[in-house]
Amino acid sequence: MSNEVLVINERVQGEIPDLTFELIGKGRELAQALGGSVSVAMIGDLSSLDAFGGADKVYTVEHPVFGSGYSAQAWEEAVAEVVAVARPKVVLFGTGTIGIDLAGSIAYREKAPLASYVVDLKVEGSDVVAVSQLYGGKLLAESLLEGETVVATVIAGSFPSEAGRSGGSPEVVSVAAPKSLDSLTLRPVAVKEPEKSGVDITAADLLVSVGRGVGSQANIEMLQELADALKVPLSASRPVIDQGWLPKPHQVGKSGKKVKPKVYLAFGISGAPEHLEGMRSSELIIACNTDPKAPIFEVAHYGTTLDLFDLVPEILEKLEA
């Protein structure tokens, strides 16, 4: 065992996600307290290796299977191999698809404790203390992670990413691809970029956004009317998309689009962490939710607990006046 903090770089293709740099920055802080170093695991695509100046070491795993796309099984085998080589004290994932895919199984294989939905981490003696966001952000749990290796999945936006971008030159360690990659039962086939659609919610200066509180597809019409009156697109949180009330390109949040309009109008959105991740950088947020304790009010600049069905017709009237 070492006192290394290992960050899993969750990039299948494209740019290195900001979250990786957040984790490197926080990893540096933990490593300093533990008297260890920070490393990054890079699986498959090895481009932009020089971006990891904030780390001491980069472990790479190459295999043709990663050229075909993404398979949770392939990534699990590769990450497990890096963990076996590095014997880290702490393994940090994000709470994205790869983190959700792998953190549990890596922790299980390593007989390590795992804390999910982490928003803060610190070292206490030789252990790690994690603060997790549970129940849709309504409660926080502080927990102690003890063991030779501990694992955490971190919610994006919890730590500054600048700290992870400093410019050193890390040692590159090539880890031999495990043989198990040659006999996968979950075979990657393709990675598909988002479908192009007429709607681009990321380009709008103003967004009217709707959440579960709208209640039904029929009620969406009223919000669409408001969006039309303001000549802006209608966006939505995940439950609205999952119900099929609006198509996927309208989704704001972790599994949808990240938006940064000048004004974000949120109607009936409670503010689950996954949604906040996609809109918290908006310049001005105005939230309407009948629950005064809804987490959306923690990021909103202005709020109202009026019923959206009472409020929206009045806004429409003011706009038409």
Binding site: S71, Y108, Q243, V263, L265, K318
Partner: protein
């Protein structure tokens, strides 16, 4: 194709949650428990596959408050059998324990092809179910699944990688999936069908075996986040608040 769907009860997040006197769990006495919404998406995807290629859908859940309602509702929607894992201690069940119990059940069921469950639950402190079950059974797994379609004896799986990017893979052999959203919204079971299911179906029992719970996070305290109180609340009736909102948008130059 035989698909087992893992479902669970969860405190209704619409309600106010209080921390219990222990300081490490929610007060469960006054909370309404509902079915985990992602599990409903997992069930829908399993039912769609059964409708496409035939087979069997078995729903399984730990014995938790109001779980019978969830299981009967699943039968009313088209599941063939319902199983309840009994003898589990009340209170918060670590996901790892849940995974190990379900893994034991799956071992006893033997001839299943796929296990579907919701991608996550709001109290998954120690990890998400699909990955933990996959690891404890040594079976391939994938989470944040938005589509699972039969392709001969295999399943073609679509996962959301974030930002709208999708990853496709093909599972040849047993697979465990954490479903984010089905191909369609979960179907509705009318109350008459649920009543019918209650009178015609017997929920099977599976006695929870002894399992050794591995290491997990030791919860020291559970507490509501400190309110930063950032939002300035707009006071007044709908007419007044509407006026203020339009004024704010106007000062940003976004409406004439």
């Amino acid at each position: 194709m035989k698909i087992v769907v893992g479902m669970r009860q969860l405190a209704d997040l619409v309600e106010e949650l209080e921390v219990a006197d222990s300081g490490v769990d929610i007060d469960r006495d006054f909370v309404k428990f509902v079915s985990n919404e992602w599990d409903e998406a997992a069930l829908e995807e399993a039912l769609l596959i059964k409708e496409q290629v035939g087979g069997e859908v078995v729903v399984v859940a730990l014995d938790e408050p109001d779980v019978d309602q969830t299981l009967y509702s699943a039968i009313a929607k088209g599941a063939d059998r319902a199983v309840k894992i009994v003898g589990v201690e009340e209170g918060w069940t670590p996901t790892r324990l849940r995974a190990q119990l379900l893994a034991k059940y799956l071992e006893s069921e033997g001839d299943w092809d796929a296990f579907f469950t919701g991608v996550q639950a709001a109290d998954d402190l120690d990890g998400q179910l699909a990955g933990l079950i996959g690891a404890s059974l040594g079976v391939a797994h994938a989470a944040v699944v938005s589509k699972a379609e039969p392709e001969g004896p295999a399943l073609r799986i679509t996962q959301e990688l974030g930002g709208g990017t999708l990853a496709e893979s093909v599972a040849e052999g047993k697979v465990v999936l954490g479903v984010q959203a089905g191909r369609q919204a979960p179907r509705y079971a009318p109350i008459t069908r649920i009543r019918q299911a209650m009178s015609s179906t017997t929920i099977e029992s599976f006695e929870a075996p002894e399992v050794e719970l591995g290491p997990g996070p030791k919860v020291r305290k559970l507490y509501p986040p400190e309110s930063k109180g950032q939002a300035t609340m707009l006071e007044g009736d709908p007419v007044e608040v509407a006026e203020k909102i339009v004024e704010i948008i106007r000062t940003k130059g976004l409406v004439r």
